[in-house]
């Protein structure tokens, strides 16, 4: 009998604000310990939190993108527990009245589309960080992160495989960056994915779940879930029981391990925070955000296919990040808006390949969109061939200037003068009489040989189309 996998994800997206959710402290990453933790963040007596207006607009953005209900009146509550990195003894969060209600996100796995439910997204503050091993028997606490604004996006248990879970996580990752509400940096913990995994017999009630935490790459999330599914099935099939617990993924050994379980069951005794009043969102607030919404990835993708005639695959790659899509659109616009496929190819093959090898992102590309467009324009007007363009591309990558500068300095201008090309063709044919005989005797592959010789004689600069045309005319005549 088979098992059905049930996965729900809780994603913590750190909002791209300047300051904390309830205080005017900076949230910049990497500062010296406790230099960005003020009296409010520390929960000093008499301090009053005041909500950062920026988190409201960013939450509305997410709600609109997920077609979700918007909490017109959302309420902050205190989630009570004791831990040294939580200075107040409670985390200010939302429970009953979250700022973002029910919504959906569409994913695609192996060509099959599926709609995943989003239960809610609520605003909350992050905790600080514990540093271990600085002094024996002691832990160090850095509260710079305490009070950093988070949106916790909770999905329905709608995913049925590790692949679906990762597709959802990736889609959400792409979305929050498009919306400009989260930088998506998983290494710095700006986008954290917790997976709730369980298995059951089809049709049976939900099985006991375990939670996988602190995994900072999509590849490892997939592997951790795969491992956890196999582990749970093995436990159940050998007559055991799943214990509800948090497990950590050990990437070196590709296993999940039980985290030392807390002595107490979770009993957070939520209650409304008396320091904060209900947050009201008006129609005007929503309209103002709607007016500034960027084009979303799915819409953009469909537009690339309809408007530019790109394939589903090409459109998917180019809209994979907002930066890449903007780069593509800049190149396309600067080359007159035609030849979308040519622009796409240069970006997806040569440029992406070079960026990958150098470990750079599109925003760090040594070749600007203007420079790449300048090069493509020279292909379009026949100044250079696609082959010469590769040399220009490499030179631009090495910072040798714009396409025009490189073409001039390296003398890469394509030969398009048919008289000059004819002379080259004549020369090559005259120098290779036996090959000409062979060709005329039926060895058509000799054509490639002649083209190669002619291109070589021209220093690679003859226009290949014209070479072919003139060569065929001469040989045929």
């Amino acid at each position: 009998m088979s098992w059905e996998v049930v996965i729900g994800l809780e994603i913590h997206a750190q909002l791209t604000t300047n300051t904390k959710i309830f205080s005017g402290s900076s949230i910049a990453y990497g500062a010296q310990p406790n230099t960005q933790a003020c009296a409010i963040d520390l929960g000093m007596p008499g301090m009053l939190p005041v909500l950062n207006e920026a988190v409201i607009g960013k939450s509305i953005r997410l709600a609109l993108a997920l077609n979700a209900e918007i909490g017109r009146k959302s309420v902050f509550e205190r989630k009570n527990y004791f831990y040294p990195d939580l200075p107040k003894g409670y985390q200010t969060s939302q429970l009953q009245y979250p700022i973002v209600g029910k919504g959906t996100l569409e994913i695609e796995v192996d060509g099959v589309k599926k709609t995943i439910g989003v239960t809610r997204a609520h605003l909350e503050e992050d905790a600080g960080k514990s540093v271990h091993g600085i002094l024996p028997g002691m832990s160090g606490i850095d509260l710079n992160r305490a009070g950093t604004p988070l949106l916790e996006i909770v999905s329905e248990p709608d995913m049925r495989s590790a692949k679906e879970a990762v597709a959802y996580a990736r889609k959400m990752h792409e979305l929050v960056q498009y919306l400009g509400i989260c930088d998506g940096n998983m290494q710095e913990g700006s986008f954290r994915v917790d997976s709730n995994v369980s298995v059951r017999r089809p049709g049976a009630p939900l099985g006991t779940r375990t939670e996988l935490k602190n995994i900072n790459s999509f590849r490892f999330i997939e592997k951790a879930i795969e491992y956890e599914i196999a582990r749970q099935i093995e436990v159940l099939e050998s007559g055991g029981k799943i214990v509800q617990e948090t497990r950590l993924y050990d990437a070196d050994n590709d296993v999940t391990r039980s985290m030392r379980s807390k002595e107490e069951a979770n009993d957070y005794r939520y209650f409304p925070c008396p320091d904060l009043l209900p947050v009201v969102i008006t129609d005007e607030d929503i309209d103002a955000v709607r007016a500034q919404m960027p084009e979303l990835p799915d819409v953009k993708r469909a537009r690339y296919m309809a408007e530019f005639g790109l394939s589903d695959y090409d459109a998917g790659v180019l809209t994979g990040s907002r930066e890449l899509a903007e780069y593509f659109e800049a190149v396309l616009a600067a080359t007159g808006g035609k030849d979308a496929k040519v622009c796409a190819n240069w970006i997806m093959s040569d440029l992406s390949g070079a960026l990958n090898r150098a470990g750079l992102s599109i925003s760090q590309s040594p070749i600007s969109a203007a420079h790449l467009a300048g090069m493509i324009a020279r292909i379009q007007d026949n100044t250079i061939s696609g082959k010469l363009a590769k040399q220009v591309f490499d030179a631009m990558w090495n910072g040798e200037g714009s396409a025009d500068e490189i073409i001039a300095s390296k003398g890469l201008k394509q030969i398009t003068d048919s008289g000059a090309i004819e002379a080259l063709v004549d020369e090559v044919l005259a120098n290779n009489p036996s090959q000409v005989e062979a060709y005329k005797g039926g060895q058509e592959k000799m054509l490639g040989y002649f083209v190669g010789q002619i291109m070589k004689a021209s220093g690679g600069q003859a226009n290949p189309g014209q070479v072919n045309q003139i060569l065929k005319a001469k040989l045929g005549g």
């Binding site: 009296a39 309420v75 009570n80 040294p84 009043l277």
Partner: protein, 95 residues
């Protein structure tokens, strides 16, 4: 509603408040009184009444997203029992 020893111990552990054995009875009675009061309120008919999130009938004022706090960790840490290299020190929290 009356609370027993087990509940008092559980609640005191969650709240991290030490309750001595000879205080359990008194604490249990006090907490039970509070719960009785809630039970009384719960008995009221609240059909059609919007749940109240805050006793003040006002909405949250918002703050502009501008950095206004400066680094005051030396001052703030002067009242901490123990610090090292900018970190607050606490008894080790993991094994």
């Amino acid at each position: 509603m009356s609370l027993g020893k087990t509940e008092v111990e559980y609640i005191s552990r969650l709240a991290a408040i030490a309750v001595k054995d000879d205080e359990v009875g008194e604490v249990a009675a006090k907490l039970s009184n509070i719960l009785d009061l809630f039970a009384q309120m719960e008995a009221a008919d609240t059909q059609g009444v919007e749940p109240m999130a805050h006793p003040l009938d006002q909405v949250q004022r918002l703050r502009r997203d501008v950095i206004s706090e400066t680094d005051q960790h030396e001052k703030l840490q002067s009242v901490a029992p123990s610090t090292s290299e900018g970190l607050y020190l606490v008894p080790q929290v993991i094994e």
